[in-house]
């Protein structure tokens, strides 16, 4: 099947656009707003890093982009088209998500990497190459995926998502189980895809150094709201809002503390 979405001209220059998007969960205690009035957009080929405290709504924001969760308020556009009007299989193939907890599907590593092409009836992806790209030794191809270490699973999950050849990549703490060096391999590979294939990336991370290294733009999310958005450089060098300054100060103290221990 011929297929080259990455070079196909898009009707909109914006890969992702949020317009007053919100998400409300209804529990026993009544409705609770997880995300409130999120607006902002990201151009093609840019890397956005999302930072903020745990439970701020970062993961929810990611899952609005491929409609694993539905915006209850407002709209989310991908390539200029509202997510709810996309053909779902195509939306989720092109907007790849690497989840926080990597889930291995039954079978070997090779089986896992073959799933995307099977789902979409596309030619089999090259497992060797996919593993090398994420810094894994291709010798693990025939190993049962469940037996891998946490860090290996995380990288197989990323490779599996990349097998779909997405043009937008959503990463939710995708390197949290990896050491600095392995995380560096992933970061460099993703940046390389950004340059070579004009991949657009939204990367949720707790690691501020990582957010700074990989991001072109950075948004700080707190309590379901985007409290500051701007270029990564400006965000870290000259934060505008009180909330961002406070967040960075607290994070710095935390990291200094971690360094002393």
């Amino acid at each position: 099947m011929p297929h080259a979405p990455a070079v196909k001209p898009e009707p909109s220059p914006w890969a992702i656009e949020f317009r007053d998007a919100g998400r409300v969960l209804t529990s026993e205690d009544g409705p609770k707003s997880i995300l409130t009035e999120v607006s902002g957009r990201l151009a093609r080929g840019r890397v956005l890093t999302l930072i903020g405290p745990s439970g701020a709504g970062k993961s929810t924001l990611l899952s609005l982009c491929n409609l694993l969760q539905t915006p209850d308020v407002g709209e989310v556009f991908v390539w200029g088209r509202e997510v709810r009007s996309w053909p779902l299989a195509e939306l989720r193939r092109r907007v790849g998500l690497v989840m926080q907890q990597p889930v291995m599907l039954p079978g070997t590593v090779a089986d896992n990497l073959a799933v995307p092409s099977r789902l979409h009836g596309r030619p089999q992806a090259d497992g060797h190459r996919l593993l090398q790209q994420v810094g894994l030794d291709p010798s693990i191809l025939q190993r049962p995926a469940e037996e891998l270490s946490g860090g290996q699973k995380q990288r197989v999950a990323l490779a599996r998502t990349l097998a779909n050849e997405p043009d937008i990549l959503l990463v939710d703490e995708g390197t949290s189980a990896l050491d600095r060096e392995s995380a560096g391999v992933i970061e460099r590979h993703v940046r390389c895809l950004v340059t070579s294939r004009c991949l657009t990336v939204v990367w949720v991370t707790h690691d501020l150094e990582q957010a700074r290294r990989v991001g072109d733009e950075t948004w700080l999310i707190d309590n379901g709201r985007v409290v500051e958005q701007g270029t990564t450089e400006a965000f870290f060098e000259a934060p505008q809002t009180e909330a961002a300054k406070r967040f960075l100060r607290t994070a710095e103290r935390g990291q200094a503390g971690a360094g002393r221990r």
């Binding site: 299989a89 939306l91 989720r92 193939r93 989840m99 907890q101 039954p106 789902l119």
Partner: protein
Amino acid sequence: MSLWTLALTLAFVVAAMLVSLWQRLGLEKDMVVATIRATVQLLVIGYVLKFVFHMDNFALTAAMVALMTCVAADNAGRRGRGLAGRFWRPFAAIAAAEVLAQGFLLAVHVIPGRPSYIIPISGMIIGNSMVACGLFLNRLRDEARTRNAEVWALLALGANPKQASRAVVKAATKASMIPTIDSAKTMGLVQLPGMMTGQIIAGADPIQAVRYQLLIVFAIIASAAITSIVLGFLTYPRLFNRFWQLVV
């Protein structure tokens, strides 16, 4: 067996009630109700069957089978707790099993097309399909919950509901067929099946009784499979909403 000798067997119930009173189990009232219900229901069905057998009318036989299917579907639908809808999905699954299995038996003249054959055999097919439905629905929900992460991972890769729920439906189908297969494995070793026992007591040749029992065993294995597969096709979309998000 005369009514008088049947009445003597009520001594069993009286004995059980005495045990209940002595041990203060408080079950006497339930026993009376159960005894009366069983007696009335079976006597009524006996007369109904006698009438239907006597009429030997195809439409009447078909109506009787349809009624049995409805009762079974209603019962199975209750166990589905919303997953299968109230009625029509279990009905379609049970009816498919009954029509295919019974249709085959009639088409190749394994059994004569008389109500005295069709109705009891339908009863066994439908009853077994009903149990398979209940097991399938319970298991489908449980499997979807325990394999929740796997299903979401597949959805995130762009799987449609059918692709994302394949493993879940397969596990539920398997689980719903295991009791039927297990009982076939131990048949005759652990217990003599009710129909065969009845035929032997009524004076039939045990070899003939065994042949009919085997027919039933084969028919219910096939009907359990048909029921689960049809129900699987009809219910997997209900695990998802219109945006292909898992909702159980």
